[in-house]
Amino acid sequence: MDFGFTDDQREIQRTARDLLAERATPARVREHAEARTVDQALWRELSELGWPGIAVSEEYGGQGLGQIELSILCEELGRSLAPVPFLPSALAATAIEQSGVQAQCERWLPGLASGETVGALGTVVDGVAGLVIGGADSQVLVLVEDDGTGLVIAAEDAEVTPLQAIDPTRSAARVSVPDGAGDSLGDVCVGLGRSLISVSSELVGVCERALEMTVAYVKDRKQFGVPVGAYQAVSHRCAQMLLDTEKARSTANFAAWTADADPERLAEAAAMAKASASDAGREVTAGAIQMHGGIGFTWEADVHWLYKRAQLDAALLGGAKRHRAQLSAILADKVAASATA
């Protein structure tokens, strides 16, 4: 029993954090967010380092590492809000690798792993994916339906309408698929489960950063002659933000572990992780704005980027309620199974 990361995993985390602290500075993130552009120089650098292919198998040009390593990168990128299409592209790669046939993998994965191809994943209702994060600058799209079916389609074959989502650090698009276009994938459940974990890990990173910024601010900001963080109305909210963050982290890390080590529990663990992280993302970043007071409501302060990212991620692949519904079905089955056993 060991909840810690291995030395190699810690090294990945440390290297990623150091690099992003240098490259994805708040000023740089702001510049790209305001212009709604991808930081192409950073994306190229991350691609050269092999980040996009971290969990893609070696056979398709990736590094063949596991969900834990992928989650570590998602968390660090969430912390930094780096304006690169890492998460959407990783979700597409995961879905294709887990449910695609060999030809589909061969066609798309090498490009996704090297970062030359950018992908995105969206959920479809009545043939339309209303909001696909990263959709406007992708070359390949994976679209999944509620029933666990999915298809992969080259962006040029789909109808992609760029949208301006509230989170300007990544592109977004409305996507629809013309009749008969696209290439069916097999059952996407495992790919979706893993994708939920990646999104959850990114949310944990967002929460962590929001809490750090808030703690730094309330230690510094003085009213009535004392730092506002000395007031329990403020400090207790910060404590709540920590609890929410750690609760989300515990389930996200557990889920990342199950993905490779105990796949039978993947569906349950992924639903727990996404329910927990979606709630935490919303609550913690809302708390960050509130605890910053008036300054937190201004465009100049950086906390709103975190709030906006959290809103998009919390909704991505379904929010907390939807995953609790999923979980409640799994629980009912378990109780029924133990009753008949």
Partner: protein, 381 residues
Amino acid sequence: MDLTFSDQETAFRDELRGWLAENKPGPAPSEGDDDTHYAYRREWQRKLYDAGWAAPAWPAEYGGRGASLTESAIYFEELGRARVPMAANVLGLLLGGPTLMVWGTDEQKERYLSPILSGEEIWCQGFSEPDAGSDLASLKTRAVKDGDEWVVTGQKVWTSGAQYSKWCMLVARSDSDVAKHKGLTYFLMDMEQDAVQVRPLRQITGEAEFNELFIEEARIPDANVVGGVGNGWKVALTTLMNERAGLGFALQIRLRQLLDDLIAKAIERGTYDENADSLAELHVRCESIRLLAWKGLTDVERYGQPGPEGSLVKWLWSDTNQRLTQLAVDIVGPDALTSGESWSYELLRARGNTIEGGTTEVLKNIVAERVLGLPRLKVAV
């Protein structure tokens, strides 16, 4: 990250599981008073003791098994899972013994540890006072040196098991002229003297788990000072640290069982769907508590000390148990509001969870100050 047990841990678990299957006691006596119930717990401890299972975490030289932290957690998980009663001398086993192992003299260890383990001598904890709850160091019970004895006068509260106890872990003020944390001494007080009066404290459940102690010139020999005169605060912290450590795993499993019972109840009553969201949220919280508790253990194994993050687990557990027992009222219906029924007991008992062993408000302060490093507001005194 590896969330599986090693072969040795699995063997430990299987041995215990096997033993519990053969030896676990029948249901608690439904008739009879508190004394009958206590006798039942005492008998259970004797059985654990005879089989070497009373305190596996104790070193072998003191009669334990030298179990690792992980094995110790497994021990409490398995006891919880088997739904066995708490050993009668739980405070001696979890708090008193480990405190003596750190601070006690060789003579004290020789004299006290073995009867704790067997349950021959029951221990209670005399820390809180009517005016010293969260602010424990402000306690007023006074100890005055008289020859080679100490004369103690004061009042203690929330003392569970006092009426059955031989020894009380007592913290008293031995010096009023120094800073409040520095004037305290930790004693072992013999409860079998007229100067110590025990009065049961009836709680909102109607039962009396706790007592008040009225101490009027009780005598404590100098040999019963633990950890040195004036060092009581440090010794008390050792006791309090142990309070958080082991029990968490038993409580976590208990919560899990209540939730499983509640889910089954909701399905049986056809109200599962309308409560599905709340039940799923409780499930996520239960799992988080389990995961955070195990993570805390990993940290101790790696870094040697439990972090103040342990406060998060206690906070989340107590809040979750209150939510769960409150939801049970909606799911179970009238039985949960009828005195003497188990769900109504759980509902009322859960109100104590966010107060006992550190109120949630104090835990939030601890998290804010020691984990997040936020400044402490200077309170005018």
